[in-house]
C-alpha cells in the first residue's frame, strides 16, 4: 500500500470510507462500482481487520423462498414482527421496514462479491430458515470482501487511525489520520463513516456504568473506541439510541479482556443455579430458552457486586450444552466447590439445599419449556429445575461481555447523517453499528447487525458516489 499512499498524496478522493468492517466494505465496493475513486481507512492492522464483523457468523435477510442455504421463506411482515419483539417496539418502523425490504435476496449480491454460504446446518440455533451462515464465519467473509475490494481498485490503508474530521456547515471536507507515525489529511468529496460503536472504550463506558465497567469483557474488536461517533456528535450530528445501554451477554469470566469472540460463550445457566459472590441466587435461570435470555444476563451479572456470578450444575447436566473453551471448575462436594470459587461454603450449601428442597419433580426436557420448576422459592426457577445433588459438581464463573453499544448518529433512509439543526448533511453518510441504533433501539436479533451493515453500507456507498459524481459535474 506504500506506493499507493505516495501516489495518492494530496489527491481528493470521491469517497472516503472510515472503518474496515462489513458496512465499510459494502460501502467501498458499491461506491467503486458506481465509478467513484475510493479510499478505505481501517484502524486495525491487517491481521485484525474487519471490526466486529470478523466475529460474526450469519446474516438475516428477507426472501420469498428457500434456497441452497436457507430452508424456507422469510417475508417482510414476519421479519418485522421478530424485530418488534426483540426491540419491544423501540425501532423506527419506516427505517426498519426499509432495511428489511432492501435486505431482500441480499445473499445474491454477497455471493457476487465473494461471499460463500454454508448449506443449511444442523446446529442448535434454529436459524436455518431465517439466517444465512457464512462458510468459515465472518473473518472468511471479510477476507473475501477485502480481496474483492482490492481487485476492484479500492485503495485500502490499514493501521490508519482517523482522529478528527474537518466539517464545515454540516459538510465533510477532510479527515485527519495517523498512519505509521505520520499525520495526514485526506480530503474527499463525500465520506462514509462505518467505524462502529464505542464498546471498546472502557472510559466512555464508565460514564454510564462507573467502576463496574472495569469488570466488563469486550467480546469483539479492541479497535471500536467510538472516536468517529464522538467527533460526529461533537460537531453537530444528531444522536440516536440510549447512550447508557449496551448489548451485553453473560460469558465466561476467564475470557480475555478483548476479542475473545464466540468461544467465550457459556450455555450452562438454564441447567443449574446461578449465584453472586455472596452465594445468593438473583434471577430465574430457567425463565426461557437460553438464546432468548442470554442477552439479559449480561446486565444481570453487571448489577451484581464485582460484576461476577457463578453458574453451578451437577454431573447430570454437564453434557446438555455446547462444550466450553475453559473447563468447568470441578469438585466432589458443594463445600469443596465453594472453596474453589472463593464463595462462602455454608452460604452456597444453604442456597443449594433451599433450591433442592423447592424443586418439584417433572419430566425434564432440555429441548422444551418443561414442567420442572421450583415451588415457594424466591426468585423461582421456571423450567429445567432439577436437584443439584449428583457429584461431581461444576462451576463456571460469569462476567458481562459487551457486544455493542446503542448510541449512534441519526440517519435518513439514504444513510445520510442528520444534523442537530434538523438539516441533512450534504456529504456525510453513516453505516453499520454507528447508526444501527436508528433501527435497533433495544435488544438484539441474531444476524441483524450484519443486515443493517450490508443494507446501509450499500446505500451509503451508492449515495456517497452519487454525491461525488454530482459535484464533479
Amino acid at each position: 500500500m506504500k506506493s499507493n499512499r505516495n501516489q495518492n498524496a494530496g489527491k481528493v478522493f470521491d469517497v472516503l470510507v472510515i472503518g474496515g468492517g462489513n458496512a465499510a466494505l459494502c460501502a467501498a465496493m458499491t461506491a467503486r462500482e458506481s465509478g467513484a475513486s475510493v479510499m478505505l481507512l481501517e484502524g486495525a492492522p491487517i491481521h485484525f481487520r474487519g471490526g466486529n464483523s470478523r466475529h460474526t457468523r450469519n446474516l438475516r435477510y428477507a426472501h420469498d423462498k428457500g434456497n441452497g442455504h436457507l430452508t424456507g421463506p422469510y417475508l417482510e411482515d414476519e421479519f418485522y414482527n421478530d424485530l418488534l419483539q426483540v426491540t419491544e417496539g423501540k425501532t423506527d418502523e419506516r427505517l426498519a421496514r426499509h432495511t428489511i425490504r432492501q435486505s431482500k435476496d441480499i445473499g445474491l449480491w454477497m455471493e457476487r462479491h465473494g461471499c460463500r454460504f454454508q448449506p443449511s446446518m444442523r446446529g442448535t440455533l434454529h436459524l436455518d430458515r431465517t439466517n444465512a451462515f457464512f462458510l468459515g464465519g465472518g473473518k472468511a467473509l471479510m477476507n473475501a470482501y477485502y480481496s474483492q475490494a482490492e481487485k476492484m481498485g479500492v485503495n485500502i490503508s490499514y493501521e490508519s487511525d482517523v482522529y478528527d474530521l474537518e466539517i464545515k456547515d454540516g459538510r465533510f471536507v477532510a479527515a485527519r489520520v495517523k498512519v505509521s507515525h505520520s499525520d495526514r489529511r485526506i480530503a474527499a468529496k463525500s465520506v462514509v463513516v462505518a467505524s462502529g460503536g464505542f464498546q471498546a472504550d472502557i472510559k466512555w463506558l464508565k460514564k454510564y456504568w462507573g467502576d463496574a465497567a472495569d469488570n466488563f469483557i469486550v467480546r469483539g474488536t479492541p479497535y471500536d473506541k467510538g472516536r468517529m461517533l464522538k467527533v460526529l456528535l461533537d460537531k453537530g450530528a444528531e444522536p440516536v439510541g440510549d447512550p447508557k445501554q449496551c448489548h451485553a451477554v453473560a460469558i465466561d469470566a476467564r475470557s480475555p479482556r478483548f476479542d475473545g469472540g464466540i468461544v467465550t460463550r457459556l450455555d450452562c445457566v438454564p441447567f443449574g443455579i446461578t449465584v453472586n459472590k455472596h452465594g445468593h441466587r438473583f434471577y430465574d435461570e430457567g425463565e426461557h430458552f437460553w438464546p432468548k435470555r442470554y442477552a439479559i444476563w449480561g446486565r444481570l451479572v453487571a448489577r451484581q457486586e464485582d460484576q461476577i456470578a457463578y453458574s453451578i450444575i451437577d454431573s447430570k447436566s454437564l453434557e446438555l450444552f455446547m462444550p466450553s473453551v475453559f473447563p468447568p471448575i470441578e469438585a466432589e462436594s458443594i463445600q469443596e466447590l465453594a472453596g474453589k470459587l472463593s464463595l462462602s461454603p455454608s452460604m452456597l450449601e444453604k442456597t443449594v439445599a433451599d433450591f433442592n428442597a423447592s424443586v418439584k419433580g417433572g419430566s425434564f426436557d432440555a429441548g422444551a419449556l418443561d414442567d420442572c420448576l421450583t415451588v415457594g422459592l424466591e426468585p423461582p426457577k421456571s423450567h429445567w429445575a432439577r436437584t443439584i445433588d449428583r457429584p461431581p459438581f461444576y462451576g463456571y464463573p460469569l462476567r458481562p461481555g459487551i457486544t455493542f453499544t446503542y448510541l449512534g448518529v441519526r440517519v435518513n433512509d439514504k444513510s445520510r447523517v442528520m444534523m442537530q439543526n434538523g438539516n441533512l448533511s450534504a456529504n456525510m453518510f453513516a453505516a453499520g453499528e454507528i447508526m444501527s441504533g436508528n433501527i435497533l433501539g433495544k435488544g438484539y436479533m441474531a444476524g441483524f447487525g450484519m443486515t443493517i451493515g450490508t443494507v446501509f453500507g450499500r446505500i451509503a456507498g451508492k449515495e456517497a458516489a452519487r454525491h461525488a459524481h454530482e459535484r464533479s459535474l
Partner: protein
C-alpha cells in the same frame, strides 16, 4: 495417559474449535470433532490424519497468531500427523527412517543401484548390458525373466504386508473395531472421498494453498499424480497378466494397452509432481510445519524420477542405452516401494483409514 506435546496442542486447539464451530463447512474434521466433547489421544491421532491440510480453516480463524489464543490448526495437525506416522510404523525399529528421510532415500537409491548394476554386470557382462537389444524378450537379455518376476513380487508382497500392518495399527490405535472396518458403505464413501479429493474442495472453492487465495490448483495437481500413479500401477499389473496368462512377451508394442496406460500415467505424474513442488516454493509457511518439508519434497522428486526414467526407457528402448535405463528405472521403482511405508506415501494409508472411520461414525451418528 501420556500425551505428546503435539497431541496436547491439538487437544487445546480442538477445545477452542468445538466451542466455535465456524469452520464446520470446510471439511470432515469439524463434523467429526462435533461428535465429541473431549478428545482422547486416540481421537486426536484420528483427527490429525483426517485433516487434509487444505488450510481453509487457518485463514478463516479469528484466533490465529498474533491473537492471544494462538490457534494454528493446519500446523498443529501436521505435526501430530507426522508423529503418528512414526508411532504406527512397522517394524518399530524403522521409526528413525521418518526422521532421516533424505538419508534414507539417498542410501536406498545407492544400495538399489549398486545391487542392480552389480548383479547385471556380474552375471550378464558389459557387452550384454551396454549393447543394442530389440524385439521380443529384449529386457530379459539384460535381466533374466525369473529375476524380473521374483524380485518385484517379493518386494510387492513385503510392502503390502507392511502397509497392511500399519493400517491395522492405525485402526486399532484410533479406537477402531472390526465391525466398523467391515462397514462396506463406509469404505464406499471413503473411496469416493479419495477419488474426488472431496476435502480439498473446501466447500466448493478449493484450498487456500499455497497462499490465502482459494484455488483448485493443488487438487488438480494431486489428481494428476494420483491418477498417473494409478495408471502406471495398472499398466504394470496388466503387463504381468499379459506375460503370464496371455503368454505375450515384453517389451510390448507402443500401442499396446500396458504401454499406453503407463505412458499416459507417466506423463501425468511429471507435471503433477513438478506443480506440487512449485507450489511448495510459493508456500505461506505460517500454517505449515517445517518438520515434513524434506520428506514431502523427497517423495515428489522420487515419483518424478520413477516416471521420468520410465518414459526415457520407452523412448530409448531400442538403443544401447536401454540396459542402463532399465536398471535405473527399476532402481527408482524399487526405492519407491521399499521406502513407501516409511515416508510421505503413508499419508495415503492413514488418510484412507481415517476417512473410513469418519464415514462409519457419521453413518452411526445419523441412525
Amino acid at each position: 495417559m501420556h500425551m505428546s506435546a503435539a497431541s496436547k496442542e491439538v487437544q487445546r486447539v480442538m477445545t477452542f474449535c468445538n466451542a466455535c464451530r465456524y469452520c464446520e463447512g470446510y471439511c470432515a474434521v469439524f463434523p467429526a470433532m462435533e461428535l465429541r466433547r473431549t478428545f482422547s489421544s486416540q481421537d486426536l491421532s484420528y483427527l490429525a490424519n483426517l485433516c487434509h491440510n487444505c488450510r481453509d480453516c487457518y485463514y478463516a480463524c479469528q484466533y490465529t497468531p498474533p491473537h492471544e489464543f494462538e490457534l494454528n490448526i493446519p500446523k498443529t495437525m501436521a505435526e501430530l500427523r507426522l508423529e503418528t506416522y512414526r508411532e504406527f510404523c512397522w517394524p518399530k525399529g524403522f521409526r528413525g527412517l521418518f526422521k532421516r528421510n533424505v538419508l534414507t532415500l539417498v542410501l536406498a537409491i545407492l544400495v538399489c543401484f549398486a545391487v542392480i548394476f552389480g548383479t547385471m554386470l556380474m552375471f550378464q557382462g558389459k557387452e550384454v548390458v551396454f549393447s543394442n537389444h530389440t524385439g521380443s524378450a529384449a529386457f530379459y537379455k539384460i535381466i533374466p525373466y525369473q529375476v524380473l518376476v521374483t524380485v518385484p513380487v517379493t518386494i510387492a508382497l513385503l510392502v503390502l504386508l507392511v502397509v497392511a500392518k500399519e493400517f491395522a495399527t492405525f485402526w486399532r490405535r484410533t479406537g477402531g473395531s472390526l465391525p466398523s472396518f467391515l462397514n462396506l458403505r463406509a469404505h464406499g464413501i471413503a473411496v469416493t472421498d479419495v477419488l474426488f479429493l472431496k476435502y480439498l474442495e473446501g466447500g466448493g472453492q478449493g484450498c487456500t494453498y499455497p497462499d490465502g487465495q482459494f484455488s483448485m490448483v493443488r487438487r488438480w495437481l494431486h489428481h494428476l499424480v494420483f491418477y498417473g500413479f494409478a495408471l502406471c500401477f495398472g499398466a504394470t499389473v496388466l503387463a504381468a497378466f499379459y506375460e503370464h496368462f496371455l503368454h505375450l512377451t515384453s517389451p510390448f508394442p507402443v500401442f499396446s494397452l500396458p504401454v499406453i496406460l503407463g505412458t499416459i500415467g507417466g506423463i501425468a505424474i511429471l507435471p503433477g509432481t513438478t506443480g506440487l513442488l512449485y507450489l511448495k516454493t510459493k508456500l505461506d509457511r505460517a500454517p505449515a510445519t517445517g518438520k515434513s518439508t524434506a520428506m514431502d519434497i523427497g517423495f515428489l522428486i522420487l515419483l518424478f524420477m520413477v516416471s521420468l526414467t520410465g518414459l526415457l526407457l520407452l523412448i530409448f528402448r531400442e538403443t544401447p542405452a536401454m540396459g542402463t535405463l532399465l536398471a535405473v528405472h527399476l532402481g527408482f521403482v524399487a526405492v519407491f516401494f521399499l521406502t513407501a511405508p516409511y515416508g510421505k506415501f503413508v499419508h495415503a494409508i492413514f488418510r484412507y483409514a481415517a476417512l473410513v472411520k469418519n464415514a462409519d461414525e457419521q453413518i452411526l451418528s445419523k441412525l
